[in-house]
Symmetry: C2
Subunit: 160 residues, 2 copies
Amino acid sequence: MTQQQIMVKSALDAWNTHINRTWNLFTELSDEQLEQPTASGRNSGYYLLGHLVAVHDGLLPLFGIGNKLYPELEEPFIQQSEATGSDKPPVKELREHWQQVHTKLSKEFNQFTVEQWLQKHTAVKEEDFAKEPHRNRLNVLLNRTNHLAYHLGQLVYLKK
Amino acid sequence: MTQQQIMVKSALDAWNTHINRTWNLFTELSDEQLEQPTASGRNSGYYLLGHLVAVHDGLLPLFGIGNKLYPELEEPFIQQSEATGSDKPPVKELREHWQQVHTKLSKEFNQFTVEQWLQKHTAVKEEDFAKEPHRNRLNVLLNRTNHLAYHLGQLVYLKK
């Protein structure tokens, strides 16, 4: 392996580990448990499941590998807080969406070469990328893994 | 910048961002707030502060850049749960320890070359590292950043 491949492996391993840990937790929790707040007055597991699906679904257009599978999740789970109480899908549906989004991402991520990981994401302009080459897909992957770990730390509070 | 330098920059940026966010939160919270549980029946902010200082202090020997500054934190904040209630330092002292540990780490991290980031950490044997070259310092940095993000997600629950 080249130095670059070793680094990409570390980043992908961390992503996959956190995706698996989070999915295992969602599987372990009943629908009723997921609908509880993670702490008094805080987001429910249900909301965080929808939030994570919506954010990860956004990686498809951000990486230029497809359109969002569930663009309707953007408003209730990213733009709005849980308290807003707009129309939201049932928890069983969100569980299926999680699997669809991550199956798709996993397939794409496993095919990316080092060069593709270091390409700019679609939210940065060519001229900015020339000066800021770290604004690439790998950087987004690191940030999304940290974002996932942050919410996983909250989701574990749903366990008795 | 080389591809490797770009990748190291992303990993270091993520670490520094989370260290700064966590420190800003600790600064914002009073000693009394830090001593509250992050959620009902869960770790206090005080315990998580001690836990993070102890874990990050462990990076010094793990990276082969020095001995732990506060080896006495290992037992109460890593080996034992908060409930065990062994002798623990006052919160003001832990705040100072946080700054000492991160000032030292920051100085070392900024001097590491790409080659040094890709060197094995001290917990892996030479013969294993030859087969598993991703068991390097950079990999540890990614994992510790995720670990920090995980607990930061819990610590924000201390904010009103």
